[in-house]
Symmetry: C2
Subunit: 576 residues, 2 copies
């Protein structure tokens, strides 16, 4: 491998060469703001993933650095995100109980598998598989996950037990404990939630009125969660609320990310492989959408295959430094971008900031109430919930609606893995069903033109001895026999029939099953004394037909255009 | 339900009304010949399914009668067939050991489930799902099954142990017992096989030369297996070969089909449901192909949904009369047809013949060697093996080849259920992959015409400020982003660009993901000062676009034809 081809996998060599003081200043300011925002977010998502709080910070350090080296987005901030943390909790929760050593170890293996999958997809340029997650499925999945996450945090707001991976599990888990609600925790949690909602909606206008510029007001408002954390931590410490049953974060080790070795037990890998694949694809889709949105604003380009490599490296990094699966997060990336990050170096400075926090600030969060973290999560994820996709999809097509509805319903009731898999399966099945009964139109000539349109939609000319059918679908196995049946049905209605023209402008591909149906049609029409012609056959389809005997056996001709076909057949018309 | 709508489900009311003496004579002669042929075949397929020989005869009685009432084919003969018997052995073998009561009971439940599935598919008119088995997958599956079946019978020819559901299992099962080969069994088995091959190839010409008509010679040749059975049975009885280790059929109860009640244990149903579904679909596809081939010869019509009901009833019948899953068989149906069967009544007479055989002939087969039955099976199934499908598919398209190759390979190595499922999955995945990177052509006008063709295949006129792209695929989630990327790539190569026309004659459908991509394209082109137009949009696609805001936001126009688009844009051309 030459140095040059190697450099393809290291975008850092590209931007690193032109790094200057302006870029440095932009990056360092962005890093400071993002660091402040990331501390509560990282703690909260660790809690959501069922891991100790420090795991969230660890998962934000090595991954950011590795993404800075291998990633192509200049503003993407990689670390724990809500949906992936939820999926981690669901996957790992099937293997070990929360809080056990096995749980944390499984999270490492999950991150490693996810990293290796992403890396493999990237090296083999398989980024297109993310396209199989249709927009309605993603939108439905994100909305349902947001609801699930918010529901899963209720127990921290109420100060009771009750875990679960589905709405039903969560509800039945909370129910028997409702009498044990801790009023102090509830007051704290509800206040924090209300405060954070107000920060989202009300703080920015207030800051603007206080004279701050729009961008600055926005950034300060984004650090609101830090304020909530500081105030509730001080309250809990000052009033000793821990003694009144308020669950606190407690002891957090003061250390840089540890070196961890993920277990490679075959049994564990077997159990985690499918969840890791789903996490990889979902994480990649989320990350690439954010990266492309931000890149478009500055007319930069994102290379999806290189992004897979960047995210793969980040996850492998997380696996070896006490983290859990990560991806490019929406809120942190937007803040990074808005704060003026110029290059991926901003990510490196953020990593340094978080490393300092891990070393020196962890004792300060000893008294941080878990209810505050839950409030942070709830407020963050409820902004992801957007049920309008249901209405949009319903208005556009029943097929898209089916995919969204299945995704939302099954994610809520049977969990994230079933939900997203069923959503993809529904999209595919609906597509197969639709193409299995293609639109087949009898066409005629628009008078005075060379255009042929559906006789039922347009006022067109037809001949009694010619049947022209336009097939509006590629011909392949699910619809091969359908064409046979439909054509024979139409032909049976035309007693004077001598010629059938199949118009193929919309036939983009023909497979072996369809070829055999065409052969059968040709034979059956021949036996009935009717010739079969084709028109407007596309180049790739013609190439394929030339590879077999069909064209030699065809009783009629292949015309370049339907117009040419009708002209030729009119000349040959039987005398009236 | 009125009597008339009920009659729809009873084709017997149709042909039964016109039944006369000519039809009766034809039917009774056909029944006699088919009965003689069916006795060895039924015994053999019971052996293949791992069941006692009488099960094969029972499975040919009630099913034939029920199909005669509910089926639409006039010549189809329903009963045990090779592939379905193999699938039965594979499915039931996972649950109980061959020869146990549990094994026979599971076969009954499998037949019941299969019958209920077929009936449900028929009542809900879901016969089209059989189309998802593409021709290459069926061809590959039948070929691989034929090889598997032949291999599975080797142990009976050799007189040793060694069972298995895959080639590997069979080979490793036979290997350690090779030293125990019974020479008498081997001699008997090889002679029977050689004789039956000769009957297939050499007997008919001999009979012709002896003065028989072609049809008669054919029919007599088809009864060859009976001769093999008679001779080897007499030999075994006369020379007491059983004492020399030749495995014989042994005691067979002399009785009409018993009334059996299939078990409905939920656990059993759960284990057998997927195999039953596969058996139903494979059996249906095999049966309908035979029925359609025979019906086409007499210009009769087969109703696929009613066929499902007929086969469903037949399988339910098998479940309650000591049988196992059945379907319309190729060889027995062809014999029935050739022997002159006029109506499904021939089936009823065959059933009566078999009932008499079950009552009176079973003692005669006590000394029938299993090796003879194995020889019957081997000779029958090797005619199913046709590896030329591999060459045909390779020549036509790599996608079809992949589906055949996967089906054959996995059926042989991992068994029938994995094989056929993987074949269908491969067909679907290959289709999704192909449509995820559609053919997109830059088009220009063929001089002097209104036709637009690919600039790389035809000598056409283009304009420097207009980019016309023909999209050769429906736009849906797997290719939505691909279009976005390709269009931007082409647009970047045209500095003078002011208008992009997307030509949609081959776009048969648009889903929500593709709509969002079109919206993104429109916005991005607008920002670059380029208008986006559409041309030749099909009716159904236009209807869909009208349901959302896209057409209002479109910067350009929608033209009826590409010709109209270019005429309009030429007029507006910027001054050179």
């Amino acid at each position: 491998m030459t140095l040059r081809s190697f450099a393809r996998y290291l975008p850092i060599l590209d931007w690193g060469r032109q790094y200057d003081r302006t870029a440095f200043t932009g990056d360092i300011v962005a890093a400071l703001i993002v660091t402040i925002m990331l501390i509560p977010q990282s703690l909260a998502y660790a809690l959501l993933a069922g891991l100790p709080p420090e795991a969230g910070i660890y998962a934000s350090i090595a991954p950011i650095l590795l993404y800075a080296v291998f990633g192509t987005s200049r503003a993407l901030a990689v670390g724990p995100v809500a949906v992936v943390s939820l999926m981690t909790a669901a996957a790992v929760g099937n293997i070990a109980a929360t809080g056990t050593a096995g749980y944390a170890a499984a999270a490492l293996t999950l991150a490693l598998l996810s990293g290796l999958i992403l890396l493999t997809l990237g090296l083999f340029r398989l980024g297109f598989i993310a396209n199989f997650l249709s927009h309605p499925v993603i939108a439905g999945f994100i909305t349902a996950s947001g609801l699930l996450i918010a529901a899963s945090q209720l127990r921290h707001l109420l100060g009771i037990q009750g875990e679960g991976n589905t709405l039903i599990e969560i509800a039945t888990g909370l129910w028997p404990h409702l009498s044990e609600v801790n009023p102090v925790t509830l007051a704290l949690g509800v206040s924090a939630t209300a405060f954070l909602f107000w920060v989202r909606k009300g703080l920015k206008p207030l800051l603007r009125r206080a004279g701050l510029g729009p961008r600055m007001a926005d950034l300060v408002a984004k650090t609101g969660p830090v304020l909530a954390i500081v105030v509730t931590t001080l309250l809990t410490w000052g009033l000793d609320l821990g003694a009144q049953g308020v669950a606190i974060v407690g002891e957090v080790p003061q250390s840089l990310p540890p070196l961890t070795l993920p277990s490679l037990r075959p049994e564990l890998i077997r159990q985690l492989f499918v969840p890791a694949l789903l996490i990889s694809v979902i994480g990649f889709v989320e990350s690439i959408s954010v990266a492309q949105t931000l890149a478009a604003k500055k007319r930069q380009r994102i290379n999806p295959d290189q992004e897979l490599i960047g995210l793969g490296a980040a996850n492998i990094g997380a696996a070896f430094t006490g983290g859990f699966p990560v991806t490019g997060g929406f809120s942190r990336s937007v803040v990074n971008y808005d704060a003026g990050a110029e290059t991926p170096a901003a990510g490196a400075y953020t990593a340094a900031g978080l490393a300092l926090a891990a070393l020196f600030l962890t004792p300060l969060i000893h008294y941080l109430p878990k209810a505050t973290l839950a409030a942070t999560i709830i407020v963050a994820v409820l902004s992801l919930v957007d049920v309008s996709i249901l209405r949009r999809a319903w208005g556009f097509s029943r097929a898209d609606f089916a995919a969204v509805a299945v995704t939302i319903l099954l994610t809520l009731t049977l969990g994230v893995e079933v939900g997203v898999t069923a959503g993809v399966a529904t999209s595919v099945l609906v597509h197969l069903y639709k193409t299995s009964r293609p639109h087949i139109a009898v066409v005629g000539r628009v008078p005075g033109t060379e255009h042929f349109r559906n006789v039922r939609r347009h006022d067109v000319e037809t001949q009694s001895h010619v049947l022209s059918l336009r097939v509006d679908e590629s011909l392949y196995f699910p619809n091969a026999r359908f064409l046979e049946d439909e054509l024979m049905r139409y032909a049976a209605d035309k007693p004077e029939l001598s010629d059938v023209v199949l118009m193929f402008p919309a036939v983009n591909d023909i497979d072996l099953s369809a070829l055999e149906s065409l052969e059968a049609i040709n034979t059956r029409l021949r036996d009935a004394g009717v010739r079969l012609h084709l028109s407007e056959v596309k180049g790739p389809v013609m190439d394929r037909l030339k590879r077999c005997h069909f064209l030699q056996e065809l009783t009629g001709e292949v015309f370049l255009s339907q117009h040419a076909a009708i002209c030729a057949l009119e000349r040959r018309a039987p005398a009236a």
